[in-house]
Symmetry: C4
């Protein structure tokens, strides 16, 4: 029961974050196609962040599936992750309205980096709570995605002042890396069910 309420709260917060983001797409004045075209950077950054939040929800879903009991530490590590995700609509709007300018592109990466670190902390907190035979630890394994993402975010932040489109391309690359659901966790969990 404990866990289902943690899931429900996280689902609620992520669902609200993902939907609130679209409020940055302000209804334009005028009824022609030409009033829509200036919205493309906001729309594009919305799509990118929607995919990111979808990835987080998806992975969060898998991770909690492998979590057997909820401790106070897990609750707070989860809230810490939700805090950084709650800043996504803000940086998404800022990024879009400034046409992917250097500073917003770097700040976008900072929020994503912090969210990735928060996710890692949550994962380690769950593993620690499960003891030496942690199911999640086996499921996560080498976790190259979890290790590669912060490096790529850091790279994108450092590159942003010189080539903001390279930074944006890196964010797309990280999204693509994660878009495929993690076969290791699914496999480990299936073998448990079997």
């Amino acid at each position: 029961m404990h866990k289902s309420r943690l899931e429900a709260f996280s689902d609620g917060v992520i669902a609200i974050i993902i939907t609130i983001m679209v409020l940055e797409l302000k209804v334009p004045h005028g009824d022609t196609v030409s009033v829509l075209t200036p919205l493309w950077p906001v729309a594009l950054s919305y799509v990118l962040s929607f995919v990111y939040l979808g990835i987080y929800w998806n992975n969060h879903h898998h991770m909690l599936h492998a979590c057997t009991r909820v401790t106070g530490g897990i609750l707070w590590a989860n809230l810490h992750l939700l805090f950084w995700l709650s800043l996504v609509p803000f940086v998404t709007g800022w990024l879009g309205e400034n046409h992917f300018a250097s500073v917003p592109a770097a700040v976008y990466g900072v929020v994503m980096l912090m969210a990735a670190i928060a996710y890692y902390i949550l994962q380690q907190t769950i593993i620690a709570s499960q003891g030496p035979d942690s199911l999640l630890k086996k499921a996560v394994g080498g976790d190259w995605k979890g290790k590669a993402s912060p490096v790529l975010y850091l790279l994108a932040i450092l590159i942003a002042p010189f080539g903001r489109y390279v930074s944006m391309a890196l964010y797309v690359v990280v999204a693509l890396i994660w878009l495929v659901p993690d076969p290791r966790i699914e496999r480990t969990l299936s073998s448990k069910d079997a």
Copy 2:
């Protein structure tokens, strides 16, 4: 459990979309009936989109009832559907504030068409996950509604530049077609329960 979290997340997103739409109904200045009357196109488009989202929630509810296990593909097909639905408040506000002008009427149809396609993809993904004896496949059957809707949306988009009220009428027709819950799915599911 997997499925219940997918349902909860979808319910959350659709509930937020449906409620956020009403924020486009801005509180008018002044306290007379005359300040309310200019709001009727926004109010009307709100009613139309409320019904559409109600239909999507209702059908989504029936479809997931016939879904037995959640794969990564189903998760993403579902997020894809939620993405297009999340754009409904934007196009609804734009449509209403411009009194059903041609371009917003066409763009409204484009979002509805994309949502219908996303729904179809989700349906096929669930059917594919169920193998040759798919319960959902039997329940859906010929699916004339699912085939007629995109055609009517396309028609409405093409007609919009010449007769925007014909387009609006077509949107109302699609809503009416779906308003009746699908007896086939209910029947197939009932016979399964029996």
Copy 3:
């Protein structure tokens, strides 16, 4: 399971409506007590609508507890109720910003009357779905509250042009009538459990 998803969706929508209302309380410019005082009509109308929505959630909760199976008609009767409730933040904001002026006071009553009618329709739809031995029918009994409320709303709407504070008082009276949870339903349900 059907029912739990209907409850979850309704809870979601009512929770969002109740929270979105507070967005009408705009953060004032200035940091003195004097910038807060003009907000009292908005704050008061917020309190009134918060109580109303709390009553609806509470009664909805009891009513669905006495509902055994969900039909298509119940789904739509429920969405119809949620539609009228979704207009509450709009009329609440309009009422507050115009210091309980006559027209907003009357329109507030119209939305409340429509919500009461929608609630009644939902109740009758559930009772009809349960056949002659309807548990809910026994639980509701004479339903004097359900009959008195629309009459009082209608009275408040008619009186609003002449004495808006009388109308406001009537809305408070209706809220007070409902504030007490219905002992009949609780008793009937308890005897069922026993």
Copy 4:
């Protein structure tokens, strides 16, 4: 079942409150670091309120775990708590936009004091509903945190006109006191499960 719907509704409202708060962080005009810096008081007050709401959610979660049946009184005591929490985004925004000025700092304390009182009322209502052998009563025990918080809030309100940063420090102290989940409730509940 009763209880799970109360939890779901509370989770929904708290999730929305926590996420809506971030809307006070308005996307700034301009794309330089210098447009971000004026946002630090809003960001800081957001962090503080995020932690407070996380504490409330966490404690609410524990308290309801020790609640065995839901009465009408508990429903309304819970809504009363949610009412005060729903004002948190408003006072947070006001506090941040005025750089922790005296009056907003005091009003922030008033809302926090009222929420603490509402939480206490909810706790006592649950204890009363459980009779003399109340599980929650044993779990809460001396409840020094629940007694210290209102005193510290009151102190912060009274000090605000003279030293607003002392008030802010007191709010941080209260948050730190609660940040640690209550070992007494966890222990009592564990011993019950054992």
